[in-house]
Amino acid sequence: MTNITNSPAETQQIAAQLAAELQGGEVILLNGELGAGKTTFVQGFVQALGSADPVRSPTFTIMNIYQADHPAIKQIIHLDFYRLAETQLQDLGLDEWLGRRDTVIIAEWPPAGLDWAGSRQIKIQLSIHSEQTRQIIVS
């Protein structure tokens, strides 16, 4: 499914629509160039799952954890692989969260070939069209 958004708020709406369809245990893989709106997308996504936690870029911190307020989903794990070249998920202490039905993982810059332990994966591709316009492909 391809969407065109004309503002950060519209990008967050697409993220909220995706969040509404989740059952828990999913892994969202976010790809897109610098400035395409990945953090904006995550902000809309986390807010839609009932979290009041501030969503900041985990580029340096690698992982942020937000508490959700949702019937099935209790926490959201926000990952960023931007600075990580060769990584195994165990190095990040993810064992604790992978495969849990009360957790969703949303990962920026995920490298190909990571073992997400059988979790359902949803791929999001964002790109810059013009100053305000973004294309978002959900697959």
């Binding site: 610098l34 400035g35 870029s57 580029t59 340096f60 070249a85 990040l92 202490g93 100053e131």
Partner: protein, 334 residues
């Protein structure tokens, strides 16, 4: 009092021994892994970011430090308890716990941001309270009101990217390599800071929060529209926008909270343009408020600042139990 400091919350593995006598802070030991070619000396590859790196580095660093194997000469052990990546934090924490347990030494847990706030105590002139601190690094952008020792209130923070992250990502967009902070600063010297009117996000928001994601995006979009733009001009204009917004918000907080001292800390405090502009703006408007910037060696992550903050924890007898202490990846300053 002699404080052994350990820091492993992010990329750096660091060990320091701080001797405090009155107002005199001396560092007989101050080692940071990236400053020593450990993997050449001890063999093996040290990956850039992974708990593995801390595991492989912390004992060689302790050995390199020349610290007595029985812990003599250490009165207190101070370790970063958070925030940070859990597997990375654990390495420093478990090492500190084991040493405290084996040596029968008291242990204190320090917040990483607290370390940056205390980095000016490693210099001769110490800040007075209340103090206001701007902490800017790859992972943090916070304005903190420090009412007294160990008494913090966060009054402003980034809502998306940290300032240092924006420097790194703009450097990437400009093809300048990593780490981006020094690369941008170097290019900026050759460019015209007024050539491109990048936005100053949230300058009218009326609070002390920041948004650096919007500034980064403005640079990304500008480069798409102007692929031939001179790199030096883009770097200079971006740096000016970032420094302007940091200085503007910090001085607005100074005006509101009327501190005795202003502290600048964190990796981005190595940026000379920021150090100079913030200091000059403070002196022009509030000449009575003192300005404290750490020496360049204490701007990035280090264990000396953890030991300095740890000293004040020990003074306040805020010791922790080595048996029950656990890492806190989301630790907040309060």
């Amino acid at each position: 009092m002699n404080i052994l400091g350990l820091e492993t919350s992010c990329d750096e593995t660091a060990v320091a021994l701080l001797q405090v006598q009155g107002d005199n802070f001396v560092l007989p030991i101050n080692l940071v892994s990236s400053q020593i070619n450990l993997h050449q000396k001890y063999g093996g590859v040290v990956p850039e970011v992974a708990a593995r790196a801390h595991v492989e580095t912390i004992f060689p660093l302790l050995q390199e430090s020349g610290l007595a194997a029985d812990g003599s000469g250490v009165d207190v052990i101070a370790v970063t308890g958070g925030p940070g990546l859990l597997p990375a934090l654990r390495i420093g924490l478990e090492t500190a716990k084991a040493l405290a347990f084996a040596w029968h030494k008291p242990l204190v847990a320090v917040n990483h941001l607290e370390g940056h706030i205390y980095s000016p105590w490693l210099s001769a002139i110490k800040p007075s309270f209340p103090a206001l601190a701007l902490i800017v690094s790859g992972g943090h952008t916070e304005i903190v009101l420090v009412k007294d020792h160990l008494n913090y209130q966060i009054v402003g923070a980034t809502r998306d990217d940290a300032a240092g992250e924006a420097f790194d990502k703009v450097a990437k967009l400009l093809g300048l390599g990593y780490p981006g902070g020094p690369a941008i600063a170097q290019q900026a010297q050759l460019g015209d800071p007024a050539s491109i009117p990048f936005p100053r996000p949230m300058s009218d928001s009326g609070d002390f929060d920041f948004s650096f994601s919007g500034l980064k995006t403005a640079v990304a979009v500008y480069l798409k529209q102007h692929p031939e733009a001179p790199v030096a001009d883009v770097a200079a204009s971006f740096q000016q926008a970032a420094v302007d917004i940091l200085v503007q918000k910090t001085l607005a907080a100074v005006k509101k909270f009327q501190p005795q001292a202003l502290i600048l800390g964190g990796g981005v405090s190595a940026n000379l343009h920021l150090r100079k502009t913030l200091g000059e703006s403070l002196t022009a408007r509030h000449p009575a408020i003192t300005y404290h910037v750490p020496n360049l060696e204490f701007t990035g992550d280090n264990a000396a600042m953890i030991a300095a903050a740890g000293y004040f924890h020990a003074q306040a007898k805020r010791f922790v139990n080595p048996v029950t202490l656990i890492a806190s990846p989301n630790l907040r300053l309060k």
